[in-house]
Amino acid sequence: MKILVCISNVPDTTTRIAIGPDGKSISTAGIQWIINPWDELALTRALELKDVGRVTEVVVANVGPTLTEATLRKALATGADRALRVNTEPTDAWSVAINLAELIKNEAFDVILCGIESSDHNGSVVGGLLAGILDMNIISSVSGLDIEGDTLKVQREIAGGKELHETSAPVVLVVQKGIALAPRIPSMRGIMMARTKPLLTSDPVSSEPMTATAQLFMPKAKGACRMVDAENAGDLIRLLHEEAKVI
């Protein structure tokens, strides 16, 4: 089986975010870019399945400008075989999905993995849009994946429980925590090898933005924390009941 892992390039979680002069995007100065954490887990599981011979090739794809190549190289260093980049600054989730769909129309993949959301726009819709555009089946909130021959065993989280699905390829799987225990870290050898692995760039398909950021602003700073004496901790319950009225 051949797996495509869709990779989003996002600011490191611990990065301080500042809003840019246009008020609609963030200031990219000084930002450390990383693989979106859920995509990193997806990649890890794909590589684990390749280790045990269930998968023949792991390809990573990103829709983004040249800047994102460092993130794709990291994915190659972690163990992906090839990388694809659609050379455009995506305007919204639709533009990401339509461009990923184009890659998949040009080359057949058995399994397409997307992280459940990206830690920048927190849209959590690219996987769904992609499956819709391609008219492929999708299983979302996936927390476990095994491959037995031509069949995929997929564990999916639902509110208050889990489901076990069996599916044939091709399929879009939107994955979350649990799909892999911890993200795989590139080895020194992997970093060396990544330099010579193929990273192909393609031109985008044109699309009208379906959504647009009208404005970004920083949330109001929180008021001071009201401290309750540890000797009188029970008083907190009274405050929550009488003052905050939340219990």
Partner: protein, 322 residues
């Protein structure tokens, strides 16, 4: 024009989020001058369907179907009804189900879609919604440019409000053209009797400061008294002290309860990203410098093992006097 709401049920009973979603649709309909139509799929009795009218749905489309529909076909089914009923706004709960369907519906409609929405639109023309981005660090106003608009409402963000209206229930079979299924649901395993983290109004959570899984008794006791769900931080689930389904934070669940209790939680940025939308945050930590106090509304500097019994006693008194 109308607003179509997908109201999910489990074993014939609507979920709280479905009532919240209809309440939201009703408020939106008031702003936009639209009718609220609820779409239910599965075996749901008329008495249960009628309840949707209590929250503002004037038309209830019930698709009587007892099997499992894979997400692709489920999206096709909803898409079919959007075509038949002509709504311009389609609402889903922002949960595992909504996330698996909304994209497929939006793609087929060529509609703009916004998830994690926490309130009514700030403008109808253009249609602009508020949500948090950059994992809770930034507020965004997102405009949908397309005629059809697909919106996913964050759980417990609007509340359940009764707005009784006269409602008509229409039963239908599946008439949409579906694909032959490529997957099969083999089994479902549900936790019994637990309050769902995604729907909980009160959440009691513990971090590494709890020292070990054996110390979770008081957290569960307090949660029981307050009708709360229990949660934990990533290190706690990674250590296997608690199941990973309880992990709240950036890579776990993002929640927004009315009140979040953080016991022995330092307040790492990844954790705060998952809980910062809570209306009230209460922190108990022995380190007065812990980052959690900078996002908390109420705090106690002290040992969790000493604070918890006092809180439990006070919660018991409150419950007895209620």
């Amino acid at each position: 024009m109308s607003i179509l709401v997908y109201t999910e049920n489990r074993e014939g009973k609507f979920k709280k989020q479905s009532f919240e979603l209809v309440s939201y649709a009703h408020a939106l309909a008031q702003l936009a001058g639209r009718e609220v139509i609820a779409l239910s799929v599965g075996e749901v009795a008329d008495d249960e369907l009628k309840q949707l009218g209590e929250y503002g749905a004037s038309r209830i489309i019930a698709i009587d179907y007892s099997g499992h529909l894979e997400s692709r076909n489920f999206s096709k089914l909803i898409h079919h009804w959007v075509g038949a009923l002509g709504p311009d706004i389609v609402l889903f709960a922002d949960n595992n189900t909504g996330k698996s369907l909304a994209g497929g519906v939006a793609a087929r409609l060529k509609a703009g879609v916004v998830s994690g929405v926490s309130g009514l639109p700030i403008s109808m023309e253009p249609f602009i919604l508020s949500k948090m981005v950059y994992t809770g660090k930034v507020n965004a106003q997102i405009q949908i440019n397309t005629h059809h608009k697909v919106v996913l409402l964050a759980g417990n963000s609007f509340g359940v409000h009764t707005n009784p209206v006269t409602s008509i229930i229409e039963h239908h079979n599946i008439v949409a053209e579906l694909a032959s299924p490529s997957s099969e649901l083999l089994s479902t395993e549900m936790q019994k009797g637990k309050i769902l983290l995604s729907e909980a109004e009160v959440v009691v959570s513990g971090g590494r400061g709890m020292k070990g899984p054996e110390n979770w008794g008081p957290i569960e006791e307090l949660a029981g008294l307050l009708g709360a769900a229990t949660a934990c931080t990533r290190p706690v689930s990674d250590e296997g002290w608690r199941p990973h389904t309880e992990h709240v934070g950036q890579t776990g669940k993002v929640i927004n309860p009315n009140i979040y209790f953080a016991f022995g939680i330092s307040g790492a940025i990844q954790h705060v990203a998952g809980v910062s939308r809570s209306k009230v945050i209460v922190a108990v930590n022995k380190d007065p410098e812990a980052a959690i106090f900078s996002v908390a509304d109420y705090g106690i500097v002290g040992d969790v093992n000493q604070a918890l019994p006092q809180l439990i006693a006070a919660a018991k008194t409150l419950k007895d006097n209620a």
